[in-house]
């Protein structure tokens, strides 16, 4: 059986890729995909810690993850809707151009 550290490393890698995508890319959709990746890294951590934790029979971790995936789906829908609204307004999805939060 793969040790816990393997899962955690995979999770950390996944998170880093997601973070890199969210920070570096200019396209809002890619940024949203990065965020989804980071969320799934967190889900993977949940599963790993549940499976290797002191009480794997209780199914708590998987329950959390199910909720989290449901919420992620809803969040993705909301996020895409926002991106579409932003696109309609600015005629672009390039985040460098969307700076109206500037103080």
């Amino acid at each position: 059986m793969t040790p816990l550290a393997g899962y955690l490393l995979l999770s950390a890698l996944l998170f880093a890729i997601g973070l890199g995508g969210a920070l570096a890319r200019r396209n809002a959709i890619i940024v949203l995909i990065g965020i989804e990746l980071m969320l799934n890294a967190a889900n993977l951590n949940f599963i790993a810690f549940w499976r290797y934790g002191p009480n794997p029979e209780a199914l708590t971790g998987i329950l959390f993850v199910l909720f989290s995936i449901g919420i992620a789906a809803a969040e993705a829908a909301v996020g895409l809707a926002i991106i579409i609204a932003v696109y309609r307004h600015y005629r672009t999805t390039n985040l460098d151009r969307i700076t109206s939060l500037k103080g």
Binding site: V31, L95, I98, S100, L101, K102
Partner: protein
């Protein structure tokens, strides 16, 4: 009928309500104005007659103390200010007189003022005046009396200046107001003094009032630093108020000028009622006056000198109303003299009879003026006997009453009463002889006036530079004006019989007693001698007047007066009213003007100099303040602000609006946090 005493306030309240109602209706509601004012006077007259009947019944029942109704107006700390009204024979008689004469004059005004644009305003003022005058009469408190007294003065001002577009009328109104104010100031001082001595201004208050025995003896015992008793000082100060209001020497100057007002006003205010308020005031506080013989002496001499002095001026006047005005001043002098030498009853009797016949004369004069198209110069009249028969007949009744025509007319009995009392006065015989002269002059000038106005031929168009181009004949006045004249002439004739020596009902009523007929007194040698003497005086005056003016009436308007051709020097002095107005002009008025200029100079250079210096000091301080403000407070603050702005600009660079930058910050912060946790956990 005891209910009348607490409800005495209704008598002045009714005209007051009428005045208020008339004041708010539009200007063209003439019928409403006249109806409201007259109806309120009828109401007051009915109530006054009830009060009179009540007073009469009480005296029949042997009670003569005044009935009072006092109430608390408001509290001042420990003490309370109490007002009230009083019903005694004096009040009752005055109420009936004022209501009756007022009512007749109101009715007369409907005719006289019919064509005036400000008809409603006139009735508003008249009703207000009646209300104030009735208030003076009923008040049982010197303060309440003073309030009403000033209201009377105000309405007098308003009515004299009723035709304010005439400069003379406006000036006369001001003169009347200011001159009476001089007397009122003394009155006010007397009132304050009285209050500080006795602690109350109520006249009658069940033994604690200021006219009752306790307070009076305290006042008489109290000596002042001037060497006179407090009662004398207070009495003289209050009398000064009466001098102003009643046109006594030396404050009489306003009364003849007051004739600029409409004639009904002259009749009501400046002949029958308001000027009598001064006499009434002296009668009201008579216990106080009586407390000191010095006060009575002053009253007597002021009265008799006024009587003589004004009668002599009236001889040489040509304005029909001005003659009557000086006659009023003179008769008021008689009243004062009557109060001084004989007491309340003597003065009041003349006041009441005079009110009726003087109102009659003024209204007759108004009828003449109305008929002659606003002509007031008696030289341009003449021959009106034929043209205005009813006015002539009633005017004759008034004139004979004023002249004191023997036995038949009221003026004879009341004036005889005064002369009788003056004869018996133990101070001096001077007033008696001066009074006789004044009575002679009265008969003389009234005969002169009647001869010039009513006898001979109408002179308006006949001859000389004075003749006016009056386009139409004089005409008799309408019934609304002549009926009040007829009613008044009845009173002018008959009223004397309530106070003859044989049946002194009036005098006894005022003293609170019941009169008995006493023909012995009438036929006693002394009475008969005095009656004879005053008859001779009156007939002599009328005869002399006839000799000068009646035998051969003036033919043209600018003919020289017969008396003037006799003694032009004396006549000139008289015609110019002893130059009193001119003397006042060069003394008091110019003194006042000089004083005002001095005050102005002082004000400009001294006081405002101080003020200006103070102003400049403040201005200098202002400069210093401004410098501190600008260079210390503001500069520091500005620097602070700049710093904050710069800091803000620096920080605002963080807020570039790019979501990813924020996200980077969060990422870096997360990494730092994780590293810290790892290293922190290790130590």
């Amino acid at each position: 009928m005891d209910w009348i005493v607490p409800f005495l306030w209704l008598i002045p309240a009714l005209p007051l309500i009428a005045a208020g109602a008339v004041a708010v209706v539009p200007k063209n509601r003439k019928r409403f104005a006249a109806t409201a004012a007259i109806a309120s006077m009828v109401g007051s007259l009915v109530l006054a007659l009830i009060a009179f009947g009540h007073s009469l019944a009480r005296i029949k029942g042997g009670q003569s103390a005044p009935e009072v109704f006092n109430f608390r107006w408001f509290d001042l700390g420990e003490s309370a200010l109490r007002l009230g009204w009083v019903l005694d024979p004096l009040t009752a008689v005055m109420l009936v007189m004022v209501c009756l004469v007022g009512l007749l004059i109101f009715i007369y005004s409907v005719g006289y003022m019919a064509h005036d644009d400000n008809f409603t305003r006139f009735f508003c003022f008249l009703a207000l005046f009646a209300s104030a005058m009735l208030g003076v009469i009923i008040s049982n408190n010197l303060l309440l009396l003073f309030i009403c007294w000033e209201l009377v003065g105000l309405t007098s001002y308003l009515l004299i200046g009723f035709w304010f577009h005439k400069p003379e009328a406006a000036a006369a109104a001001k003169k009347a107001f200011i001159t009476t104010r001089i007397g009122d100031l003394a009155f006010l001082l007397g009132m304050v003094w009285l209050n500080s001595e006795t602690g109350t201004l109520l006249f009658y208050d069940g033994g604690r009032g200021c006219l009752e025995q306790g307070a009076l003896s305290a006042l008489m015992a109290r000596a002042t630093s001037l060497g006179i008793a407090a009662s004398t000082g207070i009495g003289l100060l209050i009398f000064a108020g009466a001098v102003g209001k009643s046109g006594q020497l030396p404050l009489h100057v306003w009364l003849p000028d007051a004739m600029e007002g409409p004639t009904p006003v002259s009749a009501l205010i400046h002949a029958a009622t308001m000027v009598a308020a001064g006499v009434f005031l002296v009668a009201r506080v008579y216990p106080l006056m009586e407390a000191s013989s010095a006060t009575l002496t002053v009253i007597t001499w002021v009265g008799v000198l006024t009587a003589f002095f004004a009668a002599s001026i009236a001889v040489a006047q040509n304005d029909i109303k001005r003659i009557l005005a000086y006659s009023t001043v003179s008769q008021l002098g008689f009243m004062m003299m009557g109060l001084g030498v004989g007491g309340v009853a003597v003065g009041m009797f003349h006041l009441i009879t005079h009110a009726f016949f003087k109102a009659l004369l003024f209204m007759g004069a108004g009828s003449v003026i109305h008929g002659c198209h606003e002509e007031q110069d008696i030289r341009k009249m003449g021959g009106l006997k034929r043209l205005m028969p009813l006015t002539f007949a009633t005017y004759m009744a008034g004139m004979l009453a004023l002249s004191g025509f023997p036995l038949l007319f009221s003026g004879f009995w009341s004036k005889d009463e005064i002369l009788h009392a003056a004869h018996g006065w133990d101070g001096s015989h001077g007033p008696f002889y001066l009074g006789l002269v004044a009575a002679f002059l009265t008969a003389f000038y009234m005969t002169r006036q009647v001869c010039q106005v009513f006898l001979g031929e109408h002179r308006a168009r006949a001859g000389g530079a004075l003749a006016a181009q009056s386009p139409c004949q004089p005409h008799e006045s309408p019934a609304v004006m002549t009926v009040p004249l007829v009613v008044l002439s009845f009173f002018a004739v008959l009223l004397g019989f309530v106070g003859t020596p044989a049946w002194p009902w009036f005098q006894q009523f005022l003293k609170g007693g019941v009169a008995a007929t006493d023909f012995q007194h009438l036929f006693s040698a002394e009475t008969l001698r005095l009656i004879g003497l005053s008859s001779v005086i009156a007939l002599g005056g009328i005869g002399t007047g006839w000799w000068f003016y009646g035998r051969r009436p003036l033919k043209v308007a600018d003919e020289v007066d017969p008396v003037e051709s006799l003694r032009p020097d004396i006549y000139g002095v008289l015609r110019n009213k002893y130059y009193i107005d001119e003397i006042y002009e060069v003394t008091f008025v110019s003194l006042n003007a000089w004083w005002a200029r001095a005050c102005n100079w002082l004000e400009f250079w001294v006081w405002s100099g101080v003020a200006r210096a103070a102003g400049h000091v403040v201005l200098g301080l202002g400069w210093v303040n401004r410098a501190i403000d600008e260079y210390i407070v503001n500069l520091g603050f500005d620097r602070g602000c700049e710093g904050v702005t710069r800091g803000g600009g620096w920080f605002s660079r963080l807020q570039n609006g790019q979501v990813q930058t924020y996200l980077r910050v969060i990422g870096v912060a997360l990494a730092v946090l994780v590293l810290l946790l790892i290293w922190g956990g290790r130590s």
